[in-house]
Point group: C2
Chain length 344, copies 2
């Protein structure tokens, strides 16, 4: 391996001057700098980061602890966002995945600490409570998409209530009043938050909630065995004397099941009935016909904001809730014509 001394010899200068060139020290004559640059090119020299780290006592590495974010589709955007910001700061990410199959989490953390990471970002696959390893406190740390009740680290979470209010208001603005809300898996942290956001928006619009069916009991993404629940629910509400003109689904996978249930009963989403949802899980949301109007989880932003906080750009304390983005496609445009027919 070619070292700084080889370059110095080639450039006929001291190795200290080479070091200055590498580190963009302005105190180098242009002519000298050019000679050094040429030598670097000629020899294919690359500074040895281990040596720089050891001497400077700064690793330039941020640890990204991924609690299954590469398993859950789209949560990977947290990683992308974090990486973008780290990049801008000249830091690199070292990622460890905490899968079921991976070794003891302790070892993964040890590895990061031995590499002298300057900070830790712990990201989880979906919005939930997480267990923070004790050692995380030995270095600056932040949380994204997960929270801990023991620790009080800067934490960045999706604003579930805002999302529910915003999508509900969109449906209300379209003239809908008979809106059915089918909640996500009730074990999710998001479940009560989305439900209360929905209720608040309805209340503020002066719409009575007694016509609204909010089955906390619909099992969603985790189990996966509860498909038939959505069919049953749709069957039920379509028989109401006044069927809903809009259906708000607690997550996109439930919206997909809702599309299917409606289609097989001859109802046309976006025409006979409006449908909207949460998460923006692709390719579901983009490949459904009509395109699914849904609130997109702020994964990218959680990653960015958490990394900015970690690198000292900002100073948030405690929990910061980040807004979802409305992805307006066609499914929310249903005018409830079919429902009107039924009544008539």
């Amino acid at each position: 391996m070619v070292s700084i001394k080889d370059v110095a010899w080639e450039a006929k200068t001291s190795f200290k001057t080479v070091s200055r060139v590498i580190n963009d020290d302005p105190a180098v004559r242009d002519e000298t700098r050019a000679r050094v640059q040429a030598a670097i090119e000629a020899l294919g020299y690359r500074p040895n980061s281990a040596a720089r780290i050891m001497r400077s006592q700064r690793s330039g590495v941020i640890g990204f602890i991924s609690d299954r974010v590469t398993t859950q589709p789209h949560a990977g955007d947290i990683l992308r966002g974090a990486q973008q910001v780290a990049d801008q700061h000249g830091k690199v990410l070292m990622t460890v995945n905490l899968d079921d199959e991976s070794r003891y989490p302790q070892r993964a953390l040890d590895m990061l600490l031995e590499r002298r990471v300057e900070g830790l970002l712990y990201a989880s696959d979906y919005h939930r409570e997480v267990d923070i390893p004790e050692e995380m406190h030995s270095v600056p740390s932040v949380l994204a998409n997960g929270f801990s009740t023991q620790a009080s680290l800067p934490t960045f979470l999706p604003d579930e209530s805002q999302a529910a209010q915003e999508i509900t208001r969109l449906l209300l603005a379209q003239g809908h009043r008979r809106i059915v809300y089918i909640g996500p898996n009730r074990r999710l942290v998001a479940a009560p938050l989305r439900l209360s956001g929905f209720r608040q928006a309805m209340r503020e619009a002066g719409v009575a909630l007694d016509t609204t069916w909010t089955p906390d009991g619909v099992e969603g993404p985790l189990g996966g065995e509860e498909h038939s629940r959505v069919e049953t629910i749709i069957d039920g509400v379509l028989r109401w004397p006044e069927p809903p003109t809009a259906i708000l689904c607690g997550q996109d996978s439930i919206a997909m099941q809702t599309y299917l249930a409606l289609a097989s009963r001859g109802w046309c989403v976006g025409h006979d009935v409006a449908v909207a949802s949460f998460d923006d899980q692709r390719p579901i949301s983009t490949f459904l016909t009509p395109g699914l109007t849904t609130m997109a989880l702020p994964h990218l932003e959680m990653g960015r904001r958490a990394m900015r906080r970690l690198l000292g750009d900002t100073g948030e304390q405690g929990i910061t809730r980040l807004p979802f983005a409305l992805m307006e496609r066609e499914s929310h445009r249903g005018v409830g014509e079919r429902a009107v027919d039924t009544i008539g």
Copy 2:
């Protein structure tokens, strides 16, 4: 930061002995080892990896170049597989994402090379040709899910033809003869391979292909604007004098559209008609009702095998094609009753 010397002082021995304990050198008396271990615990000592790397000239780091694998749902399994194997070998992964938003790929590679990675694994988001940076040849490298026609690196790809043959044979074994194949986006490398696998299995079963519709022109996953194509196709085939009893979809997102198109026309998947597909893209494949029978992409295996090759466990040269796994759910069980009705 506490160093090896602090530990030596605490354990009343030389720092060389501490080094031996850290490195599991058997030539240390049990009593001495215990004293050193105690000192390590007491001081919370962690070896400085930069120092070890510099002195030993071995970084223990493998570079994982992710060409959008965290963007594409499930391709993240390549990373998981690679990480599992690296783990077993005591290596750690340093991942760089090549997103649209990330800096010049050159810089990402420079960073890895400066960290003295011992090898590089280049993984792409879907099966396609990739551009390999020149510098990748300066260190042992392998490819997963992507291939390069310039370089001749060990390459691990999904066996598209095997997958198509296997799923087609499953449908044939169920008694289906009138099988429609709706191809994926024709620009995909997988498109002609899946099509030819399908044709071969049909030919081998002695089924004439003239009743089989293979629209190379169905645009799938990339565009996303071609939803209506599937509707049109389904409309067309259902009007055939002898409608198909099974529909094989080139990818799961097309299967989802097929389910919807069939449902809105009163056809019941898994009963009136069989449906099968490729990729096993969750949650689509698990949340569709009935569950979608599909060939799962060998992402995890590609990651594992590529890493094993990189670490010298195996010695494959050139391209190795890895089999898909059959995910047998309920959608392929359709008996074509509706089709029979139509005929009768």
